[in-house]
Symmetry: C2
Subunit: 252 residues, 2 copies
């Protein structure tokens, strides 16, 4: 049985608490929140504390707060020799003011309004001391089937890659939405294409999956699209990404 | 019973032929191909012709060839009063040199190496004569549950939108792949995130689904990402899309 406490009540904290409550061989001991109202729906009121001095020694304390609060929160934990980890993709492990520190980074986009199965969320682990890796691995295995050891430098790259394949991808959806809107078309018409584009890259490499006028270097269609687009921002993005796809094709 | 023939043997033609063979109340009468070898696996040898003069009058002839061949192919069809449609997102209906013309545009990304259920593919219809719309609608209904009437101008917009949400999205996957590769991380680690990002926009608007440093205007993380990125092309794309997300947030 691994004993875990969570500090935080935001998006990641809430998804994590829900998953920990269901996990086998894992006991959620305490939830620290300065805003107990936010986590009332999780039914953990009996475990909730709002003062650092009430935190108990456990196997792992997970700090799931915003990036710029991680260091400060870690300084407030009054327990010596306590393994403390954070959940951030972009904060160095060294930000934790603890001897036994580590990172427990679930690589996923979490929304308050959409449930999610934690089992398929890749969990990226790092520890200062090799002995603590076993504890984190056992904890991660109770939540997910996808566990990776990722050092701080790799994690920086991974976080940037995640911005490309998630935040920037969603922004492409936004631009598609805007263009549909401007042409009196429902966004729904694009949804099967969005789904299939994601499905394809589960089986094929992005290289093999690439289609479209830029991939074919079809300048006639590219120019027709550029004459159609009148919003300057959309034109700039169209040009830069088309050039990038064409250049990428040349490298092969 | 609707009687249909298909001209072409490429990607779209093959997916269409497979779907038509399975469709209720629809008879695939002929397949015209100058390259019968390409469609041998479809088992339509008995229906295959390679000379335009052998084409029979049917309810609809679907031209599923590359954009720049559509006009020429339509000129070769020796049948008068024949309804002829093409499947392109970017070619005007007027390219068809026929009185009874139309467009039957399946909005999807088709790969030879990945099977696909046609039932969820949106089919965008346009006809020169209103009477022909009923024929196309009946045909489309035998293949898919998602039928839209889309005029030529809307279709131009739709094709551009499709480039954003599919071709450009796949290129974002490519950049994520490259960054993983450069950091000795398997691309598999990004796949659940890619899947969830697509799944989210089925339920939420792209606006509601947007997360990440640009959305939060988190300049510290943005600058850390820019110092991490050394490939000039990746930096340019990161900057332009970050700016676009920030500007989009300001409009709200």
């Amino acid at each position: 049985m691994i004993r875990v406490s969570v500090i935080g009540s935001g998006n990641v904290a809430q998804h994590l608490i829900r998953a920990l409550l269901k996990a086998a061989d894992t006991e959620l001991v305490q939830v620290f929140s300065r805003n107990p109202e936010a986590i009332r729906p999780l039914m953990v009121t009996d475990k909730t504390v709002s003062e650092y001095r009430l935190l108990k020694a456990v196997d792992v304390i997970i700090i799931a707060v915003s990036d710029n609060a991680i260091k400060m929160v870690s300084e407030q934990i009054p327990l010596k020799d306590q393994l403390v980890v954070h959940t951030s993709g972009s904060v160095a492990m060294e930000a934790l003011q603890k001897n036994r520190s580590g990172v427990f980074y679930p690589l996923q986009t979490f929304s308050k309004t959409k449930a999610l199965s934690f089992e398929s969320v890749p969990i990226c682990l790092e520890t200062r001391h090799a002995e603590d890796m076993t504890i984190l691995e056992n904890l991660a295995k109770s939540l997910s089937a996808a566990i990776y050891r990722v050092d701080s430098n790799q994690r920086r790259g991974l976080h940037v890659a995640a911005v490309f394949v998630s935040n920037f991808v969603n922004h492409m959806y936004q631009l598609g939405y805007d263009i549909c809107n401007d042409n009196n078309l429902p966004f729904d018409i694009l949804k099967p294409l969005i789904q299939e584009t994601a499905d394809k890259v589960m089986l094929l490499s992005p290289e093999e999956a690439q289609t479209g006028p830029a991939r074919r270097n079809d300048t006639q269609t590219i120019n027709a699209h550029l004459s159609f687009l009148t919003v300057e921002n959309q034109r700039e993005i169209y040009k830069l990404l088309t050039k990038s796809i064409i250049d990428n094709g040349k490298k092969l």
